[in-house]
């Protein structure tokens, strides 16, 4: 199997993988990085979103060959308890979840949004999160959290 090189959460990675295996499989299986969640396997729910070169994408149907030389960020790469990403802080402040299974994918979609649009409107936040499903009905709290994080990230 070929060695596929890419950046993962800021570190260089070289993984000996079947090029058709999905990135989600490699992350959760071989690498033991479980922040990105399996939800549907068809790129329809967003639970597995990771950032690839700054864009939020489903990792459950993303073949490893397409990841070569790319910069991949999972929710683990956003921040930590000691150095949280403003989105992670805001999701706690707004208590923006119920079960939380969808949250890691939503944090990634939101982080990608704020990268390309640091001043999103509420409607833009909703549109950016439309590829992420939440079944518990925590949408409005999450939208508030994203807007809060945006306001904290950009000096007035």
């Amino acid at each position: 199997m070929p060695v596929i090189e890419f950046q993962l959460n800021g570190a260089a990675m070289a993984v000996d993988a079947d090029p058709d295996q999905t990135l989600l499989d490699v992350l959760r299986g071989r690498l033991g990085i479980t922040g990105a969640h399996f939800g549907c396997g068809a790129g329809e729910c967003g639970a597995c979103h990771v950032m690839v070169d700054g864009r939020a994408m489903a990792s459950c149907d993303m073949p490893m060959w397409s990841v070569a030389d790319k910069d991949v960020v999972t929710v683990e790469g956003l921040g930590t308890m000691d150095a949280p990403h403003p989105l992670q802080r805001a999701f706690i402040s707004e208590q923006a979840m119920q079960c939380g299974y969808c949250v890691s994918g939503i944090l990634i979609s939101a982080a990608a949004l704020l990268k390309r649009n640091p001043w999103p409107t509420e409607a833009e936040v909703r549109t950016a999160l439309d590829r992420n499903l939440c079944r518990c009905g925590s949408h409005n709290r999450m939208v508030r959290a994203v807007l809060r994080a945006a306001s904290e990230m950009v000096p007035p």
């Binding site: 959760r28 033991g32 969640h37 329809e44 890691s104 439309d130």
Partner: protein
């Protein structure tokens, strides 16, 4: 000042040993409820209750996940009962623990217990004497049964319960620290997948395994009658093996499914078990001038958890350990014991969090799958995760319902008679409650058990298909009848609210229609027929908050509805604002809710918001689809749910009643929101839609009928 000792709470009566609920360890307090976290924030609310009664900081409390090895048996986490059952038990148990420690401290310090004070676990008294729970823990045995003697704090004495706190599980979820069973790493973990048919009710006749045997990573192929699955050393290998196995499978013809476009016709044509739920006879009969007869239909609704169901099982000789996101670890264990023909003591079932389940999904089924596959794993743990496809077609659904109401009206269009009849499958086929197992694989293995036909919980527990069918309104005369189907071509079990969503939709829609007939404001009509002041208060509160009734504008509609969940739980009133012509959007939902004492007010709001949004999704979009042979809504494309852009603004007001025993909030909003949206559609478009979901096609059909 203490409030009088209440009757021992039901969970404490069943599990009286104090040490099964509370333990002190090195500056920490371990609290073991039998209820489980399913995203509703229960462990936080229970921690608040314990912190309050024990006078310790909430950060010292460690909530222990339920396990049959150690936890009190509190049955199932369902029915919005966790605060009522576990919360009361913990409050009472902690009050007694506190009292026992105060007595011990009094003895050690030589100070009368009434002069002692507890602050974050430190017990102190006059003259600067002090000790603590942890210093005394060796002297104070909690291996005693709870007595009726200890009194919990009064509402005024509580400082933690009744105030919003941040949920204790949320930081882990934001920083992706594994709490979910899906993320659990175990040494030597293997992965399993189970082969299930596309055709509904089809049985596995034969299986050619030759193409699978040579696949890399395969550990075992498991076959037990019609149950078949694979075990492999990675998820990818297990998926590949399952795919190959499927090609070699030969299935029987299935069992026919009903006509999805004539659910009422199907429901009303099946053999049924009929129960008269309630009757009331008018003292003086006013003559009916006319009778309105309406039929309301709710489709099958999928739980549609974001995570496919998952479980891990590991055998050690004739003992098995199971990790599960089941709502009832003891009930699951009981069913596993039947299927495995093992004593229950040989089985440990331990809870780990999954995604929100909203009722009885495939959590229990996948646990038996894992147990059966792990038999072939040589003592290694096997993790089984269902596919999205299987989650959407093999897990139980919320039951379809046809509700018919006949309302007799006098010459002034006042209600003088009311007949409410329900046709529906049962709303509960949970494990652990019958002599036969409810788990899917139990009907597939060699010597299979028959598939359990869903039943309804008794009316005393809130009923099932009949839940919320008895009006809270003071109508002079009524007969409420439930027809439970004895056939079950589409598998059903508990979905959030059971039958309440359908019944509240029907009752509140018809009341709205009667108010319109009378030219009476629908809120005024409801207030006139209600006798319960708490009910009236939530309706008045929501009316104030939504500035009822906003001026009529073209293309905008408002609707109101009310229910008290199970007629014994939370009060909730909702006002919906919608806009649209034939395709509607819900713009705003305003709700007022009374759960008695709201332990974590922000948690209650979160639950009500979530319930309101989920109900909006059910009303506007959701319907399990099928043809005559198979469930066809097996992906998010075929079973769409509400997206971020479609979600309405939701505004919630809580009426705090700290002196009244708390009840759960998780299921209060669904019925009222459903009917409020339907009533807003009428206000906006002048047509009533009687069949859920309220889609563009249904609105156009209603308009055509009206013209």
């Amino acid at each position: 000042m203490m409030s009088p000792a209440p009757k021992p709470p039901v969970s404490l009566a069943a599990n009286p040993r104090l040490s099964s609920w509370v333990k002190f360890t090195e500056g920490r307090v371990a609290i073991s409820p039998g209820k489980v976290e399913i995203g509703q924030g229960i462990v936080t609310a229970l921690a608040q209750i314990a912190a309050d009664e024990l006078d310790v900081d909430i950060t010292r409390i460690e909530m222990i996940r339920a396990s049959t090895a150690t936890s009190p048996n509190e049955g199932v986490t369902s029915g919005s009962l966790s605060i009522q059952q576990s919360g009361r038990a913990l409050r009472h148990a902690c009050a007694e623990v506190r009292q026992r420690f105060l007595a011990a401290a009094s003895e050690r310090l030589g100070v009368d217990a009434s002069l002692l004070d507890i602050d974050d676990g430190t017990i102190s008294g006059p003259g600067n004497v002090r000790t603590s729970y942890w210093e005394l823990a060796g002297d104070v045995s909690l291996d005693h049964d709870a007595t009726a003697g200890a009194a919990a704090k009064s509402a005024a004495q509580r400082t933690v319960a009744g105030h919003s706190v941040q949920r204790i599980d949320i930081p882990d979820k934001v920083f992706a620290r594994a709490r979910f069973i899906h993320d659990q790493a175990l040494p030597g973990l293997l992965h399993g997948r189970v082969l299930r048919p596309d055709i509904s009710g089809a049985k596995l006749i034969s299986l050619d395994e030759t193409a699978v045997n040579s696949l890399p990573g395969l550990v075992a192929i498991v076959r037990d009658g019609g149950f078949a699955g694979v075990v492999a050393d990675s998820e990818a290998a297990a998926e590949a093996a399952l795919k190959a196995l499927r090609k070699g499978a030969n299935w029987s013809a299935g069992e026919p499914l009903p006509d999805e476009d004539n659910l009422a016709g199907f429901l009303k044509s099946q053999p049924v078990d009929t129960t008269v739920i309630d009757t009331r006879t008018a003292a003086s009969t006013r003559k009916a001038a006319r009778t309105l007869r309406r039929q309301y239909v709710r489709p099958y609704i999928a739980h549609a958890s974001i995570a496919p169901s998952c479980a891990i099982a590991q055998w050690d000789g004739d003992h098995v350990h199971v990790w599960t996101h089941s709502q009832g670890v003891y009930l699951l264990r009981a069913d596993l014991a039947i299927v495995l023909k093992l004593p229950a003591e040989n089985i440990v079932v331990a809870h780990m969090e999954g995604a929100g389940c909203y009722g009885h999904n495939a959590a229990d089924d996948v646990a038996l799958d894992a147990v059966l596959l792990a038999k072939a794993a040589g003592g290694r743990p096997v993790r089984v995760q269902w596919s999205r496809h299987d989650e959407m077609c093999h897990a139980p659904f919320g039951a379809a319902m046809a509700v018919e109401i006949e309302a007799d009206l006098d010459g002034d269009n006042e209600i003088v008679g009311w007949r409410h009849a329900i046709w529906s499958n049962g709303h509960a086929a949970r494990p652990g409650r019958a002599t036969q197992p409810a788990l899917l694989a139990a009907s597939e293995i060699a010597n299979p058990y028959p598939r359990m036909i869903s039943t309804n919980p008794p009316a005393a527990n809130g009923g099932g298909g009949d839940r919320n069918s008895v009006p809270l309104y003071d109508l002079p005369d009524w007969t409420i009848t439930s027809h439970r189907l004895l056939t079950m071509p589409v598998r059903t079990s508990a979905l959030r609210t059971l039958g309440a969503q359908g019944n509240v939709f029907a009752i509140e829609s018809l009341l709205d229609e009667i108010a319109a007939l009378r030219g009476e404001d629908p809120i005024a009509l409801r207030l006139r027929y209600l006798r319960d002041e708490r009910a009236k208060d939530v309706i008045r509160a929501v009316a104030r908050r939504a500035a009822w009734k906003p001026q009529k504008r073209s293309g905008v509609g408002h609707g109101v509805a009310f229910a008290r969940y199970k007629n014994t739980g939370a009060y909730c009133a909702a006002i919906a604002e919608i806009e649209g012509t034939d395709d509607i959007r819900v713009k705003r939902l305003t709700l007022a809710v009374d759960v008695g004492e709201a332990i974590n007010p922000d948690g209650v709001i979160n639950q009500i918001e979530g319930g309101a949004i989920q109900a909006t999704s059910w009303v506007l979009k959701e319907r399990v689809r099928f043809d005559r042979t198979r469930i066809t809504s097996t992906s998010w494309t075929d079973y769409p749910i509400l997206t971020f852009s479609e979600v309405p603004a939701v505004d919630v007001e809580i009426i705090q009643r700290p002196e009244i025993e708390p009840v759960g909030a998780g299921e209060a909003a669904h019925g009222p929101v459903t009917a409020a949206i339907a009533n807003a559609v009428y206000d906006c478009l002048g047509v009533r839609v009687f069949d859920l979901p309220i889609t563009r096609d249904r609105i156009i059909a209603a308009m055509e009928l009206a013209s």
